[in-house]
Subunit: 343 residues, 4 copies
């Protein structure tokens, strides 16, 4: 198969390009760019790689003609303009941007602070590709956000099986700096990040609505969640620490929680359930794994669930490849065999 | 005045020694040690300092004879053996260890995993020195733990004025590695900490009982709190992120919270109230300041309070000096004028 | 005394402002700025400081009327325009920028890549303020660059006493990121610095000519030096590792080197001579100290001298205060008593 | 093929185990250990890997019977005891330890501070496996040290073609903390490494004699080198910065250097020659690449060569696999296709 990438210069795009080049079922990766200087884009990749770098001017028709699928790792506001055309041609898309994740354009406007450019109808045809929870998918797959992935995976069994008070969820999430993108900013200047920890976008992160949308599919009466995000002085890795009150009617809580997590993630090759052990970021950084552990406190009846991912892998490029694998009926782990860097 | 330090080789002791040497009301700082090699202790300090280093063999009578007060920065299990004697002599003590913070010896045994060696009666005579909340103090002052300081300061107005559901408190706290002490361990080896974030002692941290003890003094019907701690890949700084549900009867929540914090910390020279702005660690690292900000979410009625301190200053040595200043009726800021390192 | 600062928003300016505020001989620090929004400048400082922040519109006459001295912590290209006027009025200036360090305008053009705007005559009246080596100074003091300070202090006894082959000097210097200034750049983005070490400006750093100028004052036949700089993934601290061949005629090399360093820096309160021990950055970071150690290899006859400073203290603001103290005949350590942060 | 690893718990061993498991020509990796608790060793690896973990009690006969080759990633002092037996059986060995690198046991004693336990004769049969420079190899391969690899690769063309004064070489090398091994020590405690840079073992590093031994094979009249090592506050990556005077007889220096490097490393799949561009650590960290750049200064006639590797890959486990590939006539890049982590 040949695949196209649009938006290869950001962190997610770079990791994605690397994964696709090593993918056993992919013959050729074509880079499409709206930048005029194709050589500059090519140069970003060729410094130590002998793999051929194929860079073309962005052209939606060309993409569909010469490829079997396209990955978009573009900023907010780009994919909306092409979604309908791609759908009409039944052309497989994995969209890493947030543009088509929310079914309700009003939510998009509220959380992304820009006008939506996709219709209700187009949005309704999109699959939200949280891979462990999607079966057959549409041709257009919205790859979930990094915070959404870790949070939803940590909450899924608890919400689906109503083990918790649906109005009690509090998420304290933290991410490495690649999660903030490659653009220069005061908040990501070395001197401002190093030896610091800073919270940002408390209750305002744009991944909140996609989390709520998915939770409400699982439990329509799901209450609002409390959601905070923090910036760790590291490059890669994301932890969602989730607090929730266990429902009064649940007894044998430890066993019930363990069974729920084990049943939900049975046979999922990228999920490691750690029971009463709290995973740290090193355990998964560099890999496509999600590790989930928890601690139940019988005194407060609060369960603390910790869900960790690599924000660029399971939180972006890795899950995109996993979505690709599922769509084309390949082995779910194809091209994703890399173990964590952990020594 | 002359003051004694016991336990100067740890992180808190080192910072304390430095602060006391710069203190305008202190003439001489005497180091007492149970190590046999006094020169080795002296050598730790003399490399760039021209200040005279006075090291003596530990001797409780000698301490009382030649000093006006003693600071203990010793590990758990040391001060208990000397507390009664020091009290009987009305000798002023600032004890940075956790040995005399808990009024109930059974709690000490449960959380410190060792036998208490202090009687109920002795414990009853100790002042828990959370400086912003103590008036006249006893001669024996138990300097609060770092997590306890940040958490209690962030919760005080909310609990004292019952603005929150007393059964809803969840604390997600994080600290730099100096908080784990100077002893070598796998968990504090550079390779294990760098580029990582790890939670530890979830619901098991030994500062939990002193937090509960103080909260119940403020509100006897205070419910248990949920308390997690994490290790940041930095040296210094501690953040307590506190989540609590605002009581149903409270209206004008934003104003009420702001008024409560402002009233509580009015005229407190080391507390900065930031209202709807979340402080980060850089803001206070290196100084004795506590900075507190919050964000109220009307959808969930949860308030997120963020309280940050330098774990070695306000969380240990700085507050110890503040306790000393208060006890002797000095200016509260004497010897503590250092601004944050922040550039 | 009242003093003025121009250029307070950069890293050096911020540290300088803090030092001057704590200075026992300074009553009032006035900030002058060319930015139109004075409140914005004020806001940078008032968040945890109760010290009054005095911000004025930049006006050279106003500065001279209301202050006893002025510190410039401005970028290259600013001070040249005001130097002559300030000199004509005998007004004391400590200039942290590189504009008046080089006596030869052609050198300035070559290394700073911009047209010099100061005359030969004006330049000739400037004192190059390497404090340990200046006696009576002119009113206009050019505060040395950070790399120049560490390198010159490490080389001084060896060159002055001609203990080394004057054509054999190689300097491998490294600095923390604050040395690169506050401006955002790809090279100082957290993701690019963290877990990396990068050399830059090999043989092209603008501090090379001021080093050569000073070395040639000490030894007119001094040969060119090899000079490389690297960016460490830390905030503060600078190490100059200096390699030089010991002259053939020198015997008892270890003793001769030790004597030379000890004699040169005898009675210098901010210099710590460590003999055969190599100082690391922690030893001095946060303080105004320079620590110097060395290792002589009899097999190669090469001496490795390591000279470490805090780039914002002895490398900028600290030495500026030291220059101020010397000019006004104050104690050299006034306002500079801060010990290293080292725990 | 089946391969054995002895010493899998250290950093090099862990990375090696991972590489061998992904190696296309290896069917099974057997771990041999002298620890009694085999399960503990197994547990280190099975947490996120579904790959089978085969752990056996260390037994040299068993190793030779059930494997096609053995890798030793053991501390100094282990392999010497087995080398002769393995050689007598013509059993292929890749030895990552330093025990058999030096031909002269007296040198071993001097630099490793322990008695050599290998005879001159046994040592004479060992191939020093600097892969880019070895042709047919013996069965026993001594895998070079990390500092030796980077330094020798940066010096090879200059020494082999005598482009430099053979008595002028100065190496200023720096490494990440994994280079110091997994054992806890004060020097590798997080608080001591973070925000610091420390030189260590100046002129005393045990890789110096293997560098000299190899350089003297290339140029018997090679003079001693000056060699310093420093500890960077990062996990992985090593830079050797090499200074040397270009010989007086060389003209067209830039061209001559470039030609020499290009000719030496032509067709070497893991070497990237960057000419007048200085590589940083990010460029190669995580991969088996060596990147080499330089800058020639016509004023001093000194060339600065910078050679960077990942200390655990090309500096240890990666080169070990490369040696394995070469020995068995496999593609040199088999199992080593991983690109740098760089984003």
């Amino acid at each position: 198969m040949n695949v196209a990438i649009v938006g290869v210069t950001g962190y997610s795009g770079t990791v994605l390009w690397r994964l696709l080049n090593q993918h056993p079922n992919i013959q050729r990766v074509n880079i499409y760019t709206q930048q005029s200087d194709l050589t500059a884009v090519s140069k970003q990749f060729n410094w130590v790689s002998d793999q051929s770098i194929n860079v073309f001017k962005f052209d939606i028709a060309d993409i569909m003609t010469n490829n079997d699928a396209v990955f978009f790792a573009t900023p907010a506001g780009v994919t909306g303009g092409y979604a309908a055309e791609l759908m009409n041609n039944d052309f497989p898309v994995i969209d890493l941007s947030g543009d088509l994740r929310l079914k309700d354009p009003a939510q998009y406007k509220k959380w992304y602070h820009q006008e939506p450019n996709v219709s209700h109808e187009t949005l309704s045809k999109v699959t939200y590709g949280l891979t462990e929870f999607t079966a057959a998918t549409a041709t257009y797959i919205a790859n979930p956000g990094c915070y959404a992935t870790a949070t939803l995976m940590g909450l899924a069994p608890l919400v689906q099986e109503r083990l918790i008070d649906l109005n009690s969820v509090i998420v304290d999430a933290k991410s490495g700096v690649t999660g903030s993108g490659k653009k220069l900013s005061r908040a990501t200047h070395f001197v401002d990040v190093d030896e610091n920890f800073a919270m940002y976008k408390v209750n305002q992160h744009q991944h909140i609505p996609e989390i709520m949308q998915q939770l409400r599919e699982w439990a329509p009466d799901m209450g609002p969640i409390q959601f905070a995000t923090g910036l760790l002085p590291i490059k890669r890795g994301l932890m969602a620490t989730i607090y929730a009150k266990i429902s009064d009617e649940v007894s044998d809580v430890d066993d019930v929680i363990a069974s729920a997590f084990r049943a939900t993630y049975m046979d999922k090759p990228f999920v490691k359930i750690m029971d009463n052990q709290i995973p740290d970021l090193r355990l998964i950084a560099g890999s496509n794994f999600t590790a989930i552990g928890w601690s139940y406190n019988p005194v407060t009846r609060v369960v603390t669930v910790v869900s960790v991912i690599d924000n660029l892998m399971k939180g972006a490029a890795g899950q995109a490849v996993q979505n690709f694998n599922k769509y084309f009926g390949l082995s779910e782990t194809a091209g994703l065999t890399q173990l964590p860097d952990f020594v």
